[in-house]
Symmetry: C2
Subunit: 168 residues, 2 copies
């Protein structure tokens, strides 16, 4: 992968200045992450993984963000796409192992923020939108006990994602 | 890729019987595609590409379906995931080149049909759901002239996708 060894993953939030030079001025994913809305789980030179904190219906929700400003997968070189999807799949694998969701949803949409990022969302049959996508019509309230148990376990899942991304 | 050379892509709808043996009996994507709802664009041993015919709001909509029954990307071997995403990216590349959409949406959800398939949807700012995902709240009617122009061009895009998938 272009980002150097995955072992270079760190939790440092700072982006290298030469990267920011290529940012679009008004792109929220080119600037520093809003740390109230997300928790930084891991970062390499090329991508970062954050957990989404502002979706109470779906707390088991991560994003894998390409650091440079690109809109589409096919804006990346093939080896970069591959590195990005390998990261997405590592996150999926850890989430499945740790949380045993009914389904994992993966999506790269970017209609609102056209800066390449992948949503990785663990889904359960009793979650507020199932079987709809999380952007679809809300079907029911979440089960408080289930949501609370999830919340408690998420820092452990973050650490497991970190460990997975740091292994080769 | 495991599916042999991409040049083995054909438009033959028949699935090899040994593949169907591994199907889940009630899985609609393990059986023959419903040819009223989709148009088969290309097929290899491992995957097939269909155009979705039953979403009038979003006619520029393809699916890349893994032929064997698997639910998640991480149910596949890494080289299979790579082959599948390369196919998704080839479809995206052709769709961008031929239709110049404002954005492409990629998603693997599978909440309703947990058989691995990728949605590839071309999006425009005046489409019925933009900037929402196509599963979100409808924002407006589509522009008939735009939709009609799209429809007329789609068989050409299908052929371009076929050509791209048959090139190495």
């Amino acid at each position: 992968m272009t980002g150097g060894p995955v072992a270079s993953v760190s939790t440092e939030p700072a982006a290298a200045p030469d990267r920011l030079a290529a940012a679009r001025g008004d792109c929220p994913l080119c600037g520093a992450d809003d740390h109230k809305a997300v928790h930084l789980v891991a970062r390499s030179r090329d991508w970062r993984v954050v957990r989404v904190l502002d979706n109470p219906d779906h707390p088991a929700f991560w994003r894998v963000i390409w650091n440079d400003h690109a809109a589409e997968m096919t804006d990346l070189e093939p080896h970069q796409r591959s590195a990005l999807m390998q990261t997405v799949c590592k996150v999926e694998a850890v989430v499945r192992r740790e949380l045993q969701p009914f389904k994992v949803n993966l999506a790269s949409l970017g209609n609102v923020v056209p800066h390449l990022h992948w949503h990785v969302v663990a889904r359960w049959q009793d979650d507020p939108h199932f079987p709809q996508p999380i952007w679809g019509t809300r079907q029911r309230d979440g089960v408080p006990a289930h949501l609370m148990r999830l919340e408690v376990g998420l820092p452990h899942v973050d650490r497991a994602i970190q460990a997975e991304l740091m292994s080769r």
